[in-house]
């Protein structure tokens, strides 16, 4: 039996709508209907964080979020961070500068959680940052440089520099 539904939402600042199979996860919808392939599939059961996106400002694993729940929501993926001329946001640049990227597969999910953290406009401690970022697994970096990238950007946004 096929069951479809029109889902209206705002993705990366743009109001959009598509007919979606109700069985689809939000990952399926974003990747297949909107070609937002920064949304990665690493486990599809909410354990790795590779498919993480922001929904109304909060981080969600899109693999265990039904596409139909996106109705009326504001969704942001990594694709939405880039400026019109290809400018990277500060947090993306920090990931490059701090060598926080290796294979790159966990990167989009991590950066989106970092966006939520940075938008809280709070100077977190290292332990708090570790906890806030703990919904993502990475096998390449040992998380070390990811912590540095997020911390550096957090300080910069507060008008402070940090020396490691």
């Amino acid at each position: 039996m096929s069951q479809y539904k029109v889902v209206h939402c705002n993705i990366n600042g743009k109001d959009v709508e598509k007919v979606v199979d109700v069985r689809a996860s939000l990952t399926d919808m974003l990747r297949n209907e909107y070609h937002l392939t920064s949304v990665k599939k690493g486990c599809e059961v909410g354990e790795c964080g590779a498919c993480n996106v922001l929904i109304d400002g909060e981080a969600f694993n899109s693999c265990i979020y039904l596409a139909v729940w996106a109705e009326g929501k504001h969704i942001r993926t990594l694709e939405g961070l880039m400026g019109p001329n290809g400018e990277l946001s500060d947090i993306q640049q920090a990931f490059i500068d701090e060598t926080a990227i290796q294979c790159g597969f966990c990167t989009p999910g991590f950066i989106m959680t970092a966006v939520e953290i940075l938008e809280a406009d709070t100077l977190y401690t290292d332990d708090e940052l570790r906890k806030l970022l703990s919904g993502h697994l990475c096998r390449c970096t040992g998380y070390e440089n990811i912590l540095r990238a997020v911390k550096k950007t957090m300080y910069r946004r507060q008008g402070k520099e940090i020396d490691f």
């Binding site: 069985r23 392939t37 920064s38 990665k40 599939k41 690493g42 486990c43 599809e44 059961v45 354990e47 790795c48 590779a50 993926t77 990594l78 694709e79 961070l81 880039m82 290809g86 990277l88 993306q92 640049q93 990931f95 490059i96 500068d97 060598t99 990227i101 290796q102 294979c103 790159g104 597969f105 966990c106 990167t107 989009p108 950066i111 570790r130 906890k131 970022l133 703990s134 993502h136 697994l137 990475c138 096998r139 390449c140 970096t141 040992g142 998380y143 070390e144 440089n145 990811i146 912590l147």
Partner: protein
Amino acid sequence: MNIVGKREARIDGYDKAAGRTKYYEDQMPADALYVRIKHAEKAHAIVKSIDTSAAQAIPGVVRVLTCFDVPDISFPTAGHPWSMDPAHCDVADRKLLNTHVRYWGDDVAVVIADNEVAAAQGVRALTVEYEELPFVLDVQKAMEDGAPQLHEEFPNNILKHTGMRLGDYEAAVKEKGLIKVEGWYETPTVQHCHIENHGCFAYEENGRITVVTSTQIPHIIRRVVGQALGRPWSDIRIVKPYIGGGFGNKQDALYEPLCAWCSTQVGGRCVRIDCSREETFVSNRVRHAIRFHITTWLRQDGVIAARKVECFSNQGAYASHGHSIVAKAMGSFHQHYPCPNMESDCYTVYTNRPVAGAMRGYGMPQASFADESNIDDCARAVGMEPMEFRRLNIMPQGYKDDFSGNVNYNDTYRECMAKGAQIIDYERKLKEFANDSGNIRRGIGLATFWYNTAVYPIALETTSNRMQLNLDGTVTMQCGETEIGQGADTVYAQMTAQALGLKSYRDVRVISCQDTDITPTGLGAYASRQTYVAGFSIKQTAQLLKDKILQYACEATGVATTEIDIEDGNIVRKDDRQPIMSLSELAMTAQYNPVHSEHLTAESTFTIRSNAYSFGCTFAEVEVDIEMCKTKVVRIVNVHDCGSLINPALAEAQVHGGMSMAIGYGLSEQLIFDEKTGRPLNNNLLDYKLSTFMDHPKLEAYFIENPEPTSPFGTKALGEPPACSGAPAIRNAILNATGVAINRNPINPHVLFAEFSKAGLINDPWKEEK
């Protein structure tokens, strides 16, 4: 102008930060059919029949294929170079789908459907009739007479046994006054857990088969797919896009052969196999669980007089990389701590467990755990401080290994230990922590590791390279040594720019994605070989291109080739280093010369006939909460001598990743199996305890840069070494903290509870009352 040796950003960093890097699934044709695999739910059995009727009736199901349909061809899967010596070829012991099920998770059938739900439903609808056989999970039990037999050609399930004898062990141990330190050391089955699961898609085009796959070894995969399908190797084209980590799992033919074959069974239509995480844990590859038995004989002064090492390597159901892993492990002992009288034996044994293959460290995380645990126990037995004991016995400067030809040119071990000790304040902490007696006890420990670079002389080491001068003065470079996330492309760009005299590594266009139709033959990413081996062919190919460039520049400018050079992207006079022509001008002139047009390119292959030691150590500081049976790593410091660093930022990042894996190996990671059925119990990322962001302290990576004489860029292995010494360093820190020597990893709370109870650190009075 030094381009090599600088901290430079990755050349693929922008795209990865932007989320637009394309991995295999991001290139998936929209019409690809879904292949789902039916995995056996028996540890050992013969498939008698498979009823496919219900599956075939599901709307969307295109084809159901079973173990009774596949070609009768056994093939090997290891990502090893081909050997012209048949005796040295990998063991060919599996088919595309297997009627003889040898582990829980073996592949017995596939359902091909036009959507993923139908494919999954189809797999669930299959009814498999099995004849159950007894199974064996333990490596030594599998060697016993009468044990369940996995492969008829290998009696007692022994895939291979090799040994080594130095001096006269039996005579040596009779020396009076020797102290014997003996232990059994047990290492677990773990999995690579790259965040991108393995997957691939295949289709036919003009009678050939293309497979786009998440692999480390495209050229080797081409050969294995050819073998498995009984097709000429050039019928196969393998494309490797960006891949989301491999760590050795993808140094094996995983599902490429099956995927290619499935395409041929549906008229060459595109088919996709996407491993789920659960499949990745069980039906890809795992790291060998190796059990060691070490007996060390010490003189009163702490000198090792004789040593005996036995290694039992749990291969699982199929040969994959087989004996080469435990052979490497065994071969490290006599070099790491040279001693005149040694007896070593190692066995690779089939069991009804998931297939063990290559994983970061290739036997050395296991050997390091056993060796360095035993060494700390030795130090205690003679009352020596563990670092002092190591200084006394570890490989000296000038040591030469006759087999590989490797020479310990510098006193690397002692330099690394000295640096690590100073950074972590080892001696002071050792004294301070000795006073802890409460529930929380602090400890500090160290471990060193032995490693080498690439695979010479065990197997062929070859690398090819192609370079072309572009019209804008940049250079395109292409090789078969693959970027898998480690940053290989970036260091290739740095080495190429350096070798050619370009202005920046950004002037090198590295073709990151390999295509076996196009890419010069190279073997791929493994054995920590990339930077070392590619260095040879980059140097050689760059020289060829440079000669051509200078030749043409001589023709264009009239200045003799002996008088000119390339510097900062310009042809310069050697005497005053003044530019006489830019490379762009030269390239344009050469390309569009109406009389003598030339496209300046070079290509060459280099056969490497050397190897290089790569050593280092880990210092770990821990806090043990005895009652809660928990270990907290407070500090961890790795020091490596991997020669000259090509890119220190990437080198540090590599070390961090290895340290992280080592923390997991030491404290939490283990794939476990139900003893009654052989079923894996925790093959998912919730129950398999990969360390998270909250399980690490700051990771501290340091280097000693002794340039490696055999390498054109002074470099040697770094990819795998960081994963080797962390676990035993943590083990030794726990020993230092608590006095309890734990001879198995991971040292998780279950193990601590058992060990602390045995040692009397934990007393549960109610247990005695019962």
